[in-house]
Point group: D3
């Protein structure tokens, strides 16, 4: 089996992480994995949502959107249709949960950090790229809170990254692009932290079911890929 991109089965796409991509946000990262490009901004606001008020802890939340022509054919603009699709809500809930796992909310003070992940160009894997990029933007936002003296604690527990894996033509593969994703038998998104702890696994059979053995093969690839992604995040943050 040769992948459409001619990558090896355990080879992820080339990754670039550009910090300070825009000038206003406390964290602003353009993450590009192959042709998928997502702008991830982290915005710090003082205060927390009502259900957390007075508990002395912070909050991390996320929103996700796709520019109407980030995709091969134009999608209707969600703002114009007047609601976010189920897919959008599912993804932004996933991003929020994943990023909260990176942080000790009680060390964040009563501050809210909102991660906006807006897809500029899509070629598969936008939700996992969003998580990987948003984690870098989140660190920059935390650093800005520390620099300004708003907090003197360290809320960052660990880096978090995500990748998609799948079964394509009977073979477990790492980091599916759109062509593979469209015809994969199984698609699985995995979120892990830097010590290999699993934060989220979402695997879906498309057509055929998958076996425990296939699931394990995919998890192996995900572990390898996420380790590489976290190395890249750390390199970007070290610049």
């Amino acid at each position: 089996m040769i992948r459409p991109s001619e990558r090896a089965v355990d080879e992820k796409r080339s990754l670039s992480i550009t910090r300070n991509y825009t000038c206003h946000a406390e964290g602003s990262v353009l993450v590009a994995t192959g042709d998928t490009k997502v702008l991830c901004t982290a915005s710090v606001e003082s205060g927390v949502p009502g259900f957390l008020r007075g508990k002395g802890q912070g909050w991390i939340t996320a929103e996700y959107g796709m520019l109407p022509r980030s995709t091969g054919s134009r999608m209707g603009r969600e703002a114009a249709r007047g609601k976010q699709s189920g897919r959008t809500q599912e993804i932004q809930r996933l991003i929020g949960r994943s990023l909260r796992a990176a942080v000790d909310l009680s060390a964040l003070g009563e501050n809210t950090i909102t991660l906006d992940c807006d897809v500029i160009q899509a070629d598969g894997g936008t939700r996992t790229a969003s998580i990987t990029g948003a984690c870098v933007a989140l660190v920059d936002a935390i650093r800005s809170l520390q620099r300004s003296g708003a907090i003197s604690t360290e809320p960052l527990k660990q880096m978090v990254a995500a990748v998609s894996v799948g079964i394509y033509q009977g073979q477990a593969v790492l980091d599916l692009d759109y062509i593979e994703d469209s015809s994969a038998e199984t698609d699985m998104n995995v979120v892990m932290d830097e010590s290999g702890g699993i934060i989220e696994v979402q695997g879906t059979a498309e057509g055929a079911t998958f076996s425990r053995a296939e699931m394990n093969a995919m998890m192996d690839l995900a572990e390898k890929g996420i380790a590489e992604l976290i190395a890249a995040q750390k390199a970007a943050l070290a610049e």
Copy 2:
């Protein structure tokens, strides 16, 4: 470790499946797993959504809702608030995907079957109970299409059922009720077919991350639980 319900770690709650619970729907099943009760109806309509028209195949879709006082404290009614929550949409997308895996859509004719899963009483595991109950309602609806002569094919490929598993006080457990679910370290919903093929896995760390070993322990429990559920579905259908 003793579970709040005093069940063994690999013991699911008692299950009852009542067919023909209401009189109008082509399939109507009340599924009760412990104190969780969900009414699952299957409605057959001739025709398919626009994106499938003229392709000679059918469609399966699902909607999910909770009665406002199915829960410990009253939740706002989604119809009154004017939109379905992200959680609701996520669940009904999951139910629809899972049930489509049970059926050969090309053998269904240009018919749509809508599964409505309405939670009458909630005690954890409403989404997995919905899938388990809806599959029985779906079979009844398929049988009614066959009896009426609308189709002479067999669209049913296999039974599908779902269960939740989790890590509770460091231990993998089967079929979490609300008390366990509220304090579990990890919650994982698993959907499988009757031959043990995996249709969907959704595992989420709440607080601590989970390991590959824990994931495997949870998958073992899910396999056992789903096999029991499918046996119960078949028994109910045999009546």
Copy 3:
């Protein structure tokens, strides 16, 4: 004239009232009148809406919904369409007004009781069954407030029940089922209290108009029917 159900013109359908049908609500009643089944829950919440704050009185309100397949053909789910129909709003306003007539709001303390009437199965007369069932659930909720010591007063003034009457094939009849309702010349819903006081009358000509004499004949039937319903409510509460 023989009614489709072969009932006498002044004969209502068989009624059953099941208390404690679900476990979380302060009052939970399944009311079944013939094939019409409505789950009525009463939820107590501390506090009142803004327009009543600080006035030292309570509030009773109601919401109404039909499960999508409670009817002969599936109706779109209101939560999915993003709004409640005019019919739904009309009915829930009627239920709320009717139940407030049963209660001395100033003896309720600053508590709100919300009656949720969800139609599980419909065969005509769902709004009147909702009122009859909700009144029993309301009493259970009031009793729970008293048992808990939240109030030491008696807010219940009187039982309230409702029935539909109509002109079917030129004849006044009591408690129309769906078949009669669909072809009745006039449909009238009547709400009364246990002393025969009228709380609400809503009569609508469908096709032909109706006369003062017909209106009086219908009111006579309504009085009889409601007296029987209130007796049944009291019997259920005495259990």
Copy 4:
């Protein structure tokens, strides 16, 4: 008992009906009853809603609105809030039903007449004034269809008018203005045709219940008032 307006108990407010109030609509009537002023326009459109297509009959429907400052204190604009209130929907459904009783829909051809009732100034009784005024606008619209040759039949069966009655300080009174309406024990809206046939009765106890005798006293007043209103409609149409 002296009414705030010093009217006799069976005395309705002065009524004026101005036809051709605006220039574009096929029927355009400003109806003023005391200080209540409603602009009723009837708009003819070729075609019918989907559920009537191909049945060779017409349709009558109604919409109702209040200008934001038609009332003593400004109400939020429904277009700005993004939805019509339950009260608005209830009223426009009532107006539509009432006007359909005036017309033989099968003689209307496949035409739709929409009655828009917009309250310019409110002082109680806006829904009944809307019905009374809209019926005149409807006749003008029917006449325009006949003049243009679009139909050669006579769809008008009878004039329809409406009035409110109530129990005010223990006494049945005709045509309540806002002051009376605010403190009435019972409020009842009655719609009748010119031969005294009842089209709709909606009576609501506010606080105290009402008796059969009071109901009859109110109906007597309504009959008298509606007969006067229909005479005024006919006089206006004869000009």
Copy 5:
């Protein structure tokens, strides 16, 4: 070139301004310019929107609507469609900005005046007629605040009025009616104060572009027309 209305190119339509058109609002003006009729009410409410709270100043805002049959063919009701069109929002923002230019907000106290401009009958120029009429209603509302003693300052800085101008068949013309507006090459709305200061200019080419010379010719006409309108406003206020 002869205008459809046979008016001279610099001749505006006849104008009438009727104060106290309805009885509840603090200012209520029916403005008629030719066949265009707009009811402008000014409602005073104590308090200001959140973004101004505690700043010791007032606020002026506007809402705009068209009755469904104010136009040649019936338009859908915005309240029924559940949102205001882009055109409606654009117009009400323009009216609000224009009227705020008439007033010293810091002399208004913490009061909000809402101008509701509802088009009863449309024949072109409804937004400019709204501004002209609303300014008179605003003055009446300010006078009522002063009479009641709520403020002892003079918030009114100057009268404001508006008119449309355009290029019709190659010629600059004043105050376009609907027929001219539909085929004009350019349409420009101008808002000025009584000393000729420009508050707003909005010129749009429809088809052909326009030149600086044409723009100047239109501005000359607008100056003339607005001077006449302001004289009429002052005459109406002097009554």
Copy 6:
């Protein structure tokens, strides 16, 4: 007077136009004017909206959005709030009208080109930058229609560009950035074509009114600025 940016009064910000910024759209342009950056994509779809069907002409429309953190403090996401603001709708209507002036719609065939203007980073002048950038994307989309053979005509009539001008500290200035815009006495957006024909003028006094002389001074600056912008558009298209 020294401008905050130290630019001369008739000096616009530096401009860059990057074509083919993303890979899927038929035209994709990142326009940057100073710190304002807007991604303008042009999407070609076969077919036209309903109101143009069968007329043998094409359509140009536009949508506009701001990424939530394109601005100094985070704005709520319009898709999450469920509606586009009045400002957004006003701007996208302006962009659409302006771009339609660049094109002979009857030479476009029954094709629709949608311009999506999404603000990545905002520093004033986003609507005018959107028009300037979208025109380049539009040309690329037209060229792609011609290359593919879908049309063999030339729909492009002329280039169109836009700039803001204003009165800042009593002085007419070209191309206001956010700091100037926030405190300008007057803000005017001007859209012109390459022969100097005016397509749209929108001038708004903020605080003080402006005079005819000031309006002329602003128009002179706008002419100069737009000529420079159109030269830059042409240079970018020549690459």
